[in-house]
């Protein structure tokens, strides 16, 4: 543990004492409100959950597509750079001696 961490622990322990202060009582009508709202609002449905997950899936798929496209381009570019030129120079550029 470094020096900052030790000093942070001292500060956090002191600040943490505030968390033990007495809590207020249950506000009047709170239970009624909670019960009314929990009856009104439906629980998170499977459709909502799937909707949230599918959005993430679309983002992840897009990222993967971009990465694979980048990789494919780099491979293609490398292949183009490494194409042998010897054959072309032998056949088209250097004049062959006539037998």
């Amino acid at each position: 543990m470094n020096d900052f961490d030790q000093r942070w622990q001292v500060l956090a322990r002191k600040a943490g004492r505030m968390l033990d202060e007495k809590l207020p009582d249950l506000p009047l009508g709170f239970a009624t409100r909670v019960l009314a709202h929990s009856r009104e609002a439906p629980a998170e449905s499977w459709e909502d959950l799937l909707g949230a997950l599918s959005l993430r899936a679309v983002l992840v798929t897009t990222c993967l597509c971009l990465v694979s496209a980048g990789f494919a381009f780099s491979q293609w570019y490398e292949f183009r750079m490494e194409r042998p030129t010897l054959e072309r120079s032998m056949t088209s550029e250097l004049p062959l001696p006539w037998p």
Binding site: R7, L11, A12, P24, V34, L35, A41
Partner: protein, 198 residues
């Protein structure tokens, strides 16, 4: 001595539609939920609203709750409450900005102490310590803030945090280490911006 509250029996009655049991359950869980919400409250969120949201989730998901041996119902409620707070913290997109000039003298002393510009611990009040901690934590991401509050302020064990958050213990330790590192960088940045080197 008051009789111990039988949570499982109460849950059974709540599931059967007993409104009095629902009220009793809210009354029983209220201190736990309020304390958790208070410790992880986003800046602009109302404490009462977030407590209400957490309780609504508890009642909506109560049908799916299954008791397990040795794991009290309160753990399940803590997990739901922490998740509610984490969602609220994540929704708070704008991080606050502050400068040294915004701090009280006692808060500045704590920052000096953190960054080794002052050797001894300041004799400031607990309220000032809490104020500077709140300011610093507000600059972290929601999960980083959560882990440091649970570990360093509430002094919970990594096992407890793992149960509450669903993260592995190794992940809790790693996240806490990174969060403290970020905190140090933030504190240094604030200091550097206000007192640039000549």
């Amino acid at each position: 001595m008051p009789d111990a509250f039988d949570v499982q029996a109460c849950i059974g009655r709540v599931r059967a539609g007993d409104e009095a049991a629902s009220r009793a359950l809210i009354e029983h869980l209220h201190p736990l939920v309020r304390r958790m919400v208070r410790n992880h409250l986003p800046r602009r969120e109302s404490e009462e609203d977030l407590i209400q949201e957490a309780f609504i989730k508890v009642f909506q998901k109560l049908e799916g709750y299954q008791s397990r041996d040795g794991i009290p119902f309160e753990h399940w409620v803590s997990r739901l409450t922490v998740r509610t707070c984490l969602d609220a913290l994540r929704a708070e997109r704008v991080r606050p900005e502050w400068r040294m000039a915004d701090l009280r003298e006692s808060e500045t002393k704590w920052l000096d102490f953190l960054l080794h510009r002052q050797a001894v611990e300041p004799q400031a009040s607990t309220t000032d310590a809490q104020a500077i901690v709140t300011r610093l934590l507000a600059l972290l991401s929601a999960p980083d803030r959560l882990v440091l509050t649970l570990l360093d302020l509430e002094q919970r064990s990594t096992l407890e945090i793992s149960e509450i958050t669903g993260w592995t213990r190794a992940m809790v330790k790693m996240r806490a280490m990174r969060a403290r590192f970020k905190l140090r960088q933030i504190a240094r940045r604030v200091m550097k911006n206000d007192f640039p080197n000549p």
